[in-house]
């Protein structure tokens, strides 16, 4: 393939093209009907009929907005928020005489807030546009119809349906194409669909036979064809169509369909016809928005906003009632009372005779005035803060994985704070806890066990069984690079008996030969030969397949070439003892599926023997053995049990010789099944395979180690210390799962294991009878019985439990009437492992935990089978690992390694939670402080709706003087450094139990706000009463009182922030003190403008306030006295009733002086409740020994 040489393979038509010759199935008869109406004039996109069809162009736009729709659409998005609607309505009302302030001052903050959010949207969308632009302007060679047989470069966006394009190696397909021919004689091509479904293995596509000879550019000169096919849809794996070529019709299948966004690999070029363009392509039809989840805190925040809104309505009502009373009193018994208001000649808004209507109008005024209770900049501030937090997560070098060059990638910023509240982690095993790099480590051939290396689990087990304190130094592991050759990825096998060709001397060398031949032949791996070094690398669907092929190669059976019909090996000839090339004709592949749990190939060897080579899970393979093939069964079973104990993955290898007649029958049936397009195609194929996969002869078993990822046990330990429950949901069998559980410390000796399985005898017997209903009934009863029994044991005991349940039982445990019981049992267990679970079960378990416990769940996984669970959980984490990007694409946050979860949750999660919750509390605090002063002032203005402050003071309060410090808090605050977060994982419980955003906290802040407001207002008004307020005898007017009150509020609110911040960076200083300074500067600047603009605020600072001692003295007095209660309260709490983070702060503080008793206590506490993890294991051991010593002492 390298070097672009054309291979001339003589094709055995029965494999290559037979499948395409299938007669028209019922599906094809739908063509032309509804849903199947597309007509493509191949190579003639300009013809009259084609131009009449108006298919969309190949221009793809993933942007949310266009230039024209941006304004209306983005605005609409903004005003979907209740608070923003409220502000919009008040802004509109502010143009009426109802408004207590000028219209412009009311609109400006809204404009700023909406403007900032929209700018953010615009920038994000522009980024998308640039990506699109790059994509749309990629070049592609397209056949020029007018000129004969030449291909010219054009941009992707110019492609039309019907164009013939030439795609070259390693390029993306520009649209959905029908493959016409390729550089290969048999018109196949390899396709990388990484971007589509995340699968890393290459897929094989093949064109129809009729078009396969169009090899040259010039052959398209007169090419003309008509394609009729289905309408655009989102199904990636189905396609129905026909090709009318040279007056004959040929059916088209997904086999000919090349999808946009996949990539041509290992093939020099292909020719194809564009059938779907732009947004019609399957990938675009599939495009879904990134999951949109909202965090619990934000949902609670909405509740608070509703609460405030109703409080606002309430006080407005109170105001209106008072207003109505005072207004109606203005004319009493025909006598005018407050004559200076001219109640006899007034507008409707103040008319004493129409007091009800006036009160109604006043209600609107009041609601505008008290709008300051709702922080207008809350949403936008939170959004900005979250974006910055996401940058921190993405940029964290501690979460960057060198090997795959991947940093953490948060795909949504909605869930930052939720990361700090995770109660349960649901984790996939393979690829998540383990690295999914499989290593061939042991095998059992002909009843003999080979392989001397020790698996990780074995190491952990010996470590566990041995001394509990001194960890055995890892000898085996350290010696390994010294002893062996340079390590080969996927191969960790060592046994002199069969390596280096020594297998020939083994007693059953014939079986060994067959064993490795099978490994080298029975797979779907594609070899890639490096042109220079002649080294072979393999592209495999799953890493364990690669491990097998590599193992075979290392032993001496080197698979080096695959064509459609043959597999070629370099192998050692046992007779001549020389390496010979041998080729096997590949007849059929019976593919692996999770239901079959096995795969087979049928090949013909040189001698013309027909062989069925099969490998599969032990559960399905042993029962398919022939009577005479069970020679090594007992030994092999014993070995596989041992391997399973060591946490290894086992496959049983077996083969069978076929006679021609049997094969022919099978092949007919199988091909028929394969070519059918009906719904039961799979079933039919399985049936055919079932027919032939029997009477097998056992060869042996392989054991592959699924290695734990770096740092997984430590990470799990930390998470357990943090009080997070970890559930493992895996498709593995129970033994493997349990062993991995031991390896990563989820299980330990001394834990009571609760096993729930359906492996009981009577159920097995029932299964044999095959009566589905009675099986289900018995199974259900059995599961319920087991759960109930354990529940009683569990609740009455002090011991630590671990629950292990298998897939079958899980089915019944998740049924409606059982699930609450099951959950109760599971929640009481320290560790839960669900094995043999299907993707759907994973999602169901996640839903159960999420909905029933009402706690935050986090699902982490790496494969396509975890997508359901990732999307179901509150937070979905994808591991961007070996199994492709599917999980990462559907996740909220993608990380490269499981161990990064520790930092993501304990550090980032904790910080984000703390920041956001403090931020929201503080927002409400500052707005309540401000709002309450407005309300109290109303009481002194007979509830007429006069604001206490100048219009501009009010409108800029949220935007300038007080919002920046909050943003700084949301971005920078750290209660405890990252190091200490990790050192005291129990700190994480602050988030889980939501102590920082509990209703007590929220109400506390609100009460604090109300108290501050009342203190400020009354102190100011009492001091600045009617007497002269300076030497010159001048008295206080509205402007002076307003400015003074406002000054106090700005000071108090900002100083309050300074008191609550526990991490003072330069930014905090700038924003907090800057906010105060900004207020004075504003006052100065605003007052300096002509009275036309500044109106009553003209020169208020220069002339009236700055040179008045009482202004400054009042400020100092009010600010300090307002803050003293909070300061005292905090001082007492921090010292005598510290919260957990404050205890840790004390420890940090005392570390500089001496160890305090806090540290001792905190440490003691954090150890006490851990039930899983390495430290728990150690602790259990220690207590065991203690009690033993104690016992011994007593008996003495």
């Amino acid at each position: 393939m390298a070097g672009g040489k054309r291979r001339k393979n003589l094709l055995r038509k029965f494999y290559s093209f037979s499948c395409c010759k299938a007669s028209f199935q019922e599906e094809h008869s739908q063509i032309g009907g509804p849903g199947f109406s597309r007509i493509v004039f191949a190579n003639d996109p300009d013809c009259f009929e084609a131009t009449n069809l108006y298919y969309p162009s190949n221009y793809v736009s993933t942007t949310k907005y266009t230039l024209a729709t941006f304004i209306p659409k983005a605005l609409f998005e903004q005003f979907r928020r209740v608070a923003n609607i409220y502000f919009l309505v008040t802004s509109c009302l502010s143009f009426t005489p109802l408004a207590p302030y000028t219209a412009f001052s009311a609109i400006l903050p809204l404009i700023i807030v909406i403007g900032v959010t929209m700018t953010k949207e615009a920038i994000e969308d522009f980024r998308r546009y640039r990506q699109d632009y790059e994509m749309n302007n990629r070049k592609i060679k397209v056949h020029v119809h007018q000129r004969d047989g030449t291909f010219e470069y054009t941009e992707w966006k110019n492609l039309r349906v019907g164009d013939v394009v030439k795609v070259e190696k390693d390029n993306f397909f520009p649209a959905d194409l029908i493959l016409l021919s390729s550089s290969y004689e048999d018109a196949i091509c390899y396709v990388d669909t990484m971007n589509l479904d995340g699968e890393t293995n290459l897929k094989l596509k093949q064109s129809l036979e009729v078009t396969s000879d169009l090899h040259n550019d010039s052959s398209f000169q007169h090419f003309e064809a008509l394609i009729k096919c289905e309408d655009p849809n989102a199904h990636l794996y189905t396609f129905v169509g026909t090709l009318e070529y040279q007056s004959r019709q040929y059916p088209l299948s997904p086999q000919q369909l090349l999808l946009r966004d996949s990539k041509l690999r290992n093939t020099d070029y292909i020719y194809g016809v564009v059938i779907f363009t732009g947004h019609d392509t399957k990938v675009m039809q599939n495009a879904t928005k990134p999951p949109s989840k909202r965090s619990k805190i934000e949902r609670k925040m909405d509740k608070i906003i509703y609460l405030l809104l109703s409080a606002l309505v309430l006080i407005s009502l109170i105001g209106s009632i008072f207003f109505a009373i005072t207004t109606s009193n203005d004319i009493k018994d025909g006598k005018i009372r407050r004559w200076y208001l001219r109640p006899d000649d007034t507008s409707i808004y103040f008319d004493p005779k129409e007091d009800a209507i006036a009160a109604m109008f006043h209600l609107l005024t009041a609601m505008m005035l008290y709008g300051y209770f709702i922080p207008i900049s809350l949403y936008v501030s939170i959004e900005m803060v979250k974006v910055l937090q996401v940058i921190f997560i993405n940029q964290d070098r501690e979460m960057y994985y060198e090997e795959s060059d991947k940093p953490a990638h948060a795909r949504t910023s909605n869930l930052n704070e939720e990361l700090g509240q995770v109660d349960t982690i649901l984790s996939d095993k393979t690829g998540t806890l383990t690295c999914n790099s499989m290593e061939f480590i042991k095998c059992s051939i002909a009843g003999t066990a080979y392989g001397q290396r020790v698996s990780q689990v074995e190491k952990t087990m010996t470590r566990r069984k041995g001394s509990s304190f001194i960890y055995v130094s890892d000898n085996a592991h350290q010696d390994y690079p010294v002893q062996g050759k340079p390590a080969i990825k996927g191969f960790n096998f060592e046994d002199d008996r069969i390596m280096n060709g020594n297998w020939l001397n083994e007693p059953r060398s014939d079986v060994i030969q067959k064993f490795f031949q099978l490994l080298a032949i029975c797979h779907t791996v594609i070899p890639e030969v490096d042109a220079e070094s002649r080294k072979i690398s393999y592209e495999a669907e799953s890493p364990d397949e690669a491990a097998f092929v590599i193992a075979a190669r290392e032993i001496g059976f080197e698979f080096y070439k695959r064509t459609q019909t043959s597999i070629s090996l370099h192998e050692l000839d046992p007779v001549s003892r020389k390496t010979v090339e041998s080729s096997y004709t590949l007849l059929n592949i019976l593919e692996f599926s999770s239901s079959r749990k096995r795969m087979s190939v049928i090949v013909k060897n040189k001698e013309g023997e027909l062989l069925l080579l099969s490998k599969g899970a032990d559960s399905v393979m042993f029962e398919r053995l022939a009577e005479n093939g069970r020679e090594f069964e007992d030994k092999t079973r014993e070995h596989t049990n041992n391997y399973a104990d060591d946490g290894l993955r086992i496959l049983i290898l077996a083969y069978r010789k076929l006679d021609e007649a049997e094969y022919e029958t099978f092949n007919r049936k199988f091909t028929e099944a394969k070519n059918s397009v009906s719904a039961d195609r799979e079933e039919k194929m399985d049936e055919a395979a079932e027919m032939i996969e029997r009477e097998l002869i056992l060869l042996g078993a392989t054991a592959v180690e699924d290695k734990l990822q770096d740092g997984v046990p430590e990470c799990i330990d930390k998470l357990a210390e943090a009080g997070i429950k970890i559930w493992v949901l895996t498709g593995d069998k129970m033994e493997t799962a349990i062993n991995i559980g031991f390896a990563c410390s989820l299980l330990r000796q001394g834990m009571k294991q609760i096993l729930i399985t359906l492996e009981a005898q009577e159920i097995k017997q029932l299964e044999k009878k095959g009566d589905k209903e009675s099986i289900a009934k018995a199974s259900r009863e059995s599961v319920i019985r087991q759960i109930e029994g354990n529940l009683q044991r569990n609740s009455s005991s002090e011991e630590t439990f671990a629950l292990i349940i298998d897939g079958k039982s899980l089915n019944y445990a998740l049924e409606d009437n059982v699930k609450s019981m099951f959950l109760q049992l599971a929640v009481n267990c320290a560790s839960v492992i669900c094995c043999r679970s299907s993707p759907k079960q994973k999602a169901l378990v996640t839903r159960l935990v999420k909905n029933s416990t009402r706690k935050v769940t986090l699902a982490i996984g790496d494969g396509a089978n975890d997508v359901g669970m990732i999307q179901e959980a509150d937070i979905g984490i994808g591991i961007s690992g070996v199994e492709g990007m599917q999980a990462a694409m559907s996740s909220d946050i993608a990380i490269a390694q499981f161990r990064f979860l520790e930092r993501l949750l304990l550090v980032h999660g904790h910080w984000c939670y703390r920041r956001i919750s403090l931020m929201i509390c503080y927002f409400f605090y500052k707005n309540i402080t401000f709002g309450v002063t407005l309300f109290v002032y109303e009481a002194y203005a007979s509830f007429s709706g006069t604001p206490a402050y100048n219009d501009w003071f009010m409108s800029l309060y949220n935007v300038f003087f007080t919002s920046l410090p909050v943003i700084a808090l949301g971005v920078f605050d750290q209660d405890v450094s990252a190091r200490l977060c990790l050192k005291y994982p129990l700190l994480y419980q602050e988030g889980v139990q939501n102590v920082l955003f509990s209703w007590t906290q929220i109400i506390g802040w609100m009460v604090n706000g109300i108290c501050s407001a009342i203190t400020i207002f009354f102190f100011c008004t009492i001091v600045l009463q009617h007497q002269a307020f300076r030497k010159g005898g001048e008295v206080v007017d509205r402007e002076i009182l307003g400015a003074t009150l406002y000054t106090c509020i700005v000071w108090v609110v900002n100083c309050q922030m300074a008191l609550s911040v526990s991490y003072f960076t330069l930014f905090q200083h700038i924003f907090i003190w800057g906010g105060i300074a900004l207020w004075y500067i504003f006052l100065l600047a605003y007052g300096a403008m002509t009275p036309k603009v500044s109106a009553t605020a003209f020169m208020v600072f220069i002339e009236e306030l700055a040179n008045t001692p009482s202004y400054w003295i009042v400020t100092l007095f009010v600010v300090i006295s307002t803050l003293i209660p909070y300061f005292t309260f905090t001082a007492v709490r921090v010292r005598f009733f510290p919260m957990y983070h404050e205890r840790i702060q004390w420890i940090r503080f005392d570390d500089r002086v001496a160890e305090s008793e806090y540290s001792g206590e905190v440490r003691q506490r954090s150890e006490r409740l851990i039930m899983a993890g390495v430290s728990a294991r150690l602790e259990a051991k220690v207590s065991q020994i203690r009690s033993r010593v104690h016992h011994a002492v007593q008996t003495l």
Binding site: T62, K335, Y340, Q395, Y940, F972, T1108, F1136, F1137
Partner: protein
């Protein structure tokens, strides 16, 4: 799906070998959240010193303020109830609205302490809502400032135009309800002149009230509100109006009437001849005449001084209390059950 469109870079695993570490986040103190910062913690030393410091600052200020307030001499005389003929006490409104009745009234006040000049003369109104929204808005600043804009009377309803449609200058309820009681003072036989210049803010005179704007059609309507203006004086010279138009913040307020620039001695008897014109009876407001000196801190108000002393004292007390508590109970570990994060108990 958008992200998959980031496409080729993430897909090509082999290419990444050449660009090794290309995606490694760059180190910066900002992105790694390692900015230098101080991490304040409320240690006993801090708490005690903060309280002590506040006490040390507050007590002297309190003493100074109290001293200043005590040095101010203030005479307050409520006259609205006294200046009504005995026969009309039941019908105050009729009395005040009757133009025919002479409203002159004589009050005598005794100076309790020596008063150094300048002595400020205030009138104080109670229960008068100058901060009512309708009232506050009922003016037109442009008109006051600029003679050319006399026609701009928006917002001035119902005191906008005279009967003939020509604009009222100054328009609006505030101007219309101008306070119009007058006071003259005599000590023995010596009459005390009341200086009525410079009783308003300079910025008001210079920038808000035009020196070439003269009153027009003022108080010409059927219903006369308050005082009238001298038609030959420009608005910037009509300081009573300027003072009145600075609306008060609270319903009880004083406004400067003038200054007496003569020292008064203790036990001097001041005779005040006043015209009780202004109607506060309708809305049961009070009228008071106030004579007051000022200190550096303004008029008489003990609250600030007492407040400072109280808070300062409280801080000293808290400092002492904390000291005692810290020493007596060096470390109480608080509610330890809080820390146990009871797992089963929290299942809501």
């Amino acid at each position: 799906m958008n992200n998959s469109y980031a496409g080729p870079s993430s897909a090509s695993a082999d290419a990444s070998a050449t660009r090794r570490n290309s995606k490694r986040p760059k180190y910066s103190k900002f992105t790694q959240q390692e900015l230098p910062a101080c991490k304040p913690i409320l240690t006993p030393q801090w708490v005690i010193s903060v309280f002590t410091l506040i006490g040390l600052i507050f007590v002297p200020i309190g003493v100074a303020s109290l001293f200043a307030s005590n040095n101010v001499v203030e005479i307050v005389d409520r006259y609205d109830t006294e200046c009504i003929p005995k026969n009309m006490t039941d019908n105050k409104i009729a009395y005040i609205q009757n133009q025919a009745i002479n409203k002159t009234c004589i009050r005598k006040v005794r100076v309790p302490k020596d008063m150094d000049q300048p002595i400020y003369v205030y009138y104080q109104l109670d229960n008068f809502y100058q901060n009512h929204r309708r009232y506050v808005k009922s003016r037109n600043d442009a008109q006051l400032r600029d003679e050319k804009k006399a026609n701009e009377t928006s917002g001035c309803d119902p005191e906008k135009t005279a009967a003939n449609g020509s604009p009222i200058v100054p328009c609006g309820l505030i101007a219309w309800s101008l306070f119009n009681d007058t006071y003259t003072f005599t000590r023995g036989n010596q009459s005390l002149t009341v200086n009525k210049t410079n009783i308003s803010w300079k910025s008001d005179r210079d920038h808000k009230f035009g020196s070439n704007v003269f009153p027009k059609n003022f108080q010409n309507g059927t219903l006369v509100g308050g005082g009238s203006l001298d038609l030959n004086k420009s608005l910037s010279e009509q300081e009573d109006l300027i003072v009145w138009m600075r609306t008060a913040a609270l319903p009880t307020f004083r406004k400067l009437y003038g200054k007496i620039e003569v020292d008064l001695k203790k036990n001097d008897i001041i005779t005040v001849v006043l015209k009780n014109n202004y109607n506060t009876y309708s809305f049961s407001g009070k009228k008071k005449l106030v004579l007051s000196t000022t200190s550096w801190l303004g008029g008489k108000n003990d609250f600030l001084g007492i407040g400072y002393l109280t808070v300062g004292g409280l801080c000293f007390f808290l400092a002492a209390a904390f000291t005692v508590v810290y020493f007596v109970k060096p470390r109480k570990l608080g509610d330890t059950s809080y820390l146990s994060w009871n797992r089963t108990g929290t299942g809501r």
